[in-house]
């Protein structure tokens, strides 16, 4: 019997599922090996038990938690898919900013005033703490990145189908920069999160002339203290550093608060 694979999305842009649809070359081969039982982007149907459940998105509301518990209890293997599911991503920024401030910044003062008094207008405008999936249920594997890396997805799937342990090395982005012989962003006088962030992305942002903002999360051994010190020595303004941490890394235990 083919293993049953399901996809579920929570708070996210569903870009990771789209990234998966972009693995066109392999999609048919995947479908030949698994039975896809739930995939909002493609089909809709309820199935009882899942061999592999992929969870996309971060967890914001009480009813999300109930739904996630339910999926976990029916899944053999549960995979967090993408940065929102793995580290809360951009959404987790709202853990640090009052909802009223956030709302005003996006929709303006008038709308904010209305949402605060009109219970019917948008009941979801406040929410509980934004959490990564592993903060709520046990996660077996994480496919990091914004969006996730299709090659890593295929590696995980192939490993699970053949009964092998997948390997996602906990290496800094710098490793892939060396493999690609990129000029280091620091040589350009700019700050990069590569030395403290999970690689596995092939240093894609730096390859194309940008810098790393750490969308794949901080390494378990990230030397955040040294990184802060380095940025300080470079004369980089601490609020801009804080803003960069808040982009993808708000939920990282060491990174939430940048002290002056």
């Amino acid at each position: 019997m083919k293993p049953k694979v399901a996809f579920f999305d929570f708070a996210s842009c569903e870009g990771c599922q789209l990234a998966l649809l972009n693995c066109e070359d392999d999609l048919l081969a995947i479908l030949a090996q698994v039975e896809l039982v739930e995939f909002r982007e493609a089909i809709s149907e309820q199935a009882g038990r899942y061999d592999i459940a992929f969870i996309e998105g971060s967890i914001h509301r009480e009813q999300d938690i109930e739904r996630l518990y339910d999926i976990r209890s029916r899944s053999k293997v549960l995979v967090a898919l993408g940065a929102c599911a793995c580290n809360g991503n951009v959404q987790a920024r709202s853990n640090f900013v009052a909802p009223a401030e956030n709302y005003k910044a996006v929709y303006g003062e008038e709308d904010r005033n209305r949402v605060q008094v009109d219970g019917e207008y948008w009941p979801l405008w406040t929410h509980t703490r934004v959490r990564a999936v592993h903060e709520v249920v046990k996660v077996d594997y994480q496919l990091r990145g914004c969006p996730m890396q299709p090659t890593e997805f295929l590696h995980l799937l192939k490993s699970l189908l053949t009964g092998r342990e997948p390997s996602f090395p906990a290496n800094a982005v710098c490793v892939e920069c060396k493999k690609n012989e990129n000029e280091c962003v620091y040589d350009r006088g700019l700050a990069c999160f590569g030395p403290i962030a999970f690689g596995g992305c092939d240093a894609i942002c730096i390859n194309s002339g940008h810098l790393c903002d750490g969308c794949r999360g901080l390494l378990p051994y990230a030397n955040v203290k040294a990184h802060r010190q380095l940025l300080k020595e470079m004369g980089i303004d601490i609020t801009s550093v804080q803003n960069r941490y808040r982009l993808h890394l708000s939920n990282e235990p060491d990174a939430g608060e940048v002290r002056r």
Binding site: D26, A29, I30, A32, Q33, L154, H155, L157, K158, L161, T162, R164, S167, P169, A170, N171, A172, C174, V175, C177, K178, K179, E181, N182, E183, C184, Y186, D187, R188, C192, G194, P195, I196, Y221, A222, N223, A226, H227, Q229, L230
Partner: protein
């Protein structure tokens, strides 16, 4: 194995001619401050003396990342069959500095030691090396002279020196003669003498200096085993592995198997690895032989100055190119670390 004198233009024409026959790598500018050994294209200009050590050393071309070790394919008999990797094409590594040359000859020895590495060997015998002499330190990181790499010529097929009167081209091997057949340089009877005169103009000291002679390092490092210096440097370190990946004498790799989705074919490959990355020394248990960053720094340093020199008798396995310090975001410089230990254990000369 003659010597010739040529203009930079003539040498450039000759290199372009060679590059038509096979991949020829020459240091090219990358970004604002860096260089990389890249295939020489038809229209690429060659800069003769204005390049720094490249981001990764030329020897890495002999040990490429993500190298296929074998593939397997299911045959008509429904069994899996081993398929050897495609043999690599001949190549020329050109513009190789003495430090990198010494690194390559050291890799040659390491890779030939049992169990010999056939993949490396296959590439190496297909590789011609055109080296480029150094008459001044490349930058403020350089310490090749202190570790005895400056005079390296072994392993080169052709050796270039930039003289005031032109480029001295010395053939050092039969393969050197072979690739020089295509050149039309004028013969130079006193090539070696001219080179020695030019080398006599090198500044002294040439680059940075070691606090002790390299031969004294193994003993000094044994004495300083518990040195707090490693941990002091470790506090700034990200364990990112850059220092290993850019080192001319680092060669560790990780082996990976990948099956096709249907499970009928597969590929075994190896990728670059680094002993500064925490998982490197992790074993079942889980236990980590070098869980602390200071222990990893110590291991890296002892590999270069104690373990490999004592095992192979080829002198320091740090060739003084300065890459690890140059590329480290935390500015951790291996020579500073050694010298700090020397001061601490009182081994200073």
């Amino acid at each position: 194995m003659g010597s010739y004198l040529a203009t930079e233009e003539q040498v450039s024409t000759w290199l372009h001619l060679l590059a038509k026959e096979r991949d020829l790598f020459w240091p090219r500018s990358v970004g604002q401050f860096n260089y990389s050994f890249l295939p020489l294209g038809e229209r690429d200009e060659i800069c003769f003396d204005r390049y720094l050590p490249t981001i990764v050393p030329p020897g890495r071309r002999l040990l490429p990342d993500d190298e296929t070790l074998f593939t397997s394919q299911q045959g008509d008999d429904r069994l899996s069959h081993y398929l050897p990797p495609q043999p690599s094409a001949p190549m020329v590594l050109a513009g190789v500095r003495p430090c990198d040359l010494k690194g390559i000859t050291q890799l040659d020895t390491v890779m030939a030691a049992a169990p010999a590495d056939p993949y490396y060997h296959q590439r190496r015998v297909n590789t011609v090396i055109i080296a480029m002499n150094c008459l001044a330190p490349c930058d403020s990181r350089c310490f090749c002279s202190a570790v005895g790499a400056l005079g390296a010529q072994d392993g080169a097929d052709v050796f270039l020196t930039l003289l005031a009167e032109g480029v001295l081209v010395e053939s050092l091997s039969a393969r050197g003669d072979e690739i020089l057949v295509k050149a039309s340089f004028s013969l130079c009877e006193d090539g070696k003498e001219r080179r020695l005169v030019a080398e006599g103009t090198r500044p002294l000291p040439f680059g940075r200096e070691l606090a002790v002679v390299p031969e004294a390092l193994p003993e000094m490092l044994r004495k300083g085993y518990e040195s707090p210096v490693y941990h002091r440097y470790g506090e700034r370190c990200y364990s990112c592995g850059t220092c290993n990946l850019v080192c001319p004498t680092c060669y560790c790799f990780e082996v990976r198997d990948e099956m096709s989705l249907d499970g009928f074919s597969g590929r075994r490959s190896r990728t670059w690895d680094s002993c500064m990355i925490p998982a490197f020394a992790e074993v079942a248990g889980p236990h980590n032989f070098r869980a602390e960053v200071g222990e990893r720094q110590r291991h890296r340093l002892k590999r270069k100055f104690e373990y490999l020199p004592e095992r192979f008798g080829l002198g320091s396995f740090c060739v003084g190119c300065g890459r690890c310090g140059r590329q480290c975001t935390a500015n951790i410089d291996i020579l500073n670390m050694v010298n700090d230990i020397a001061v601490e254990v009182g081994g200073g000369s």
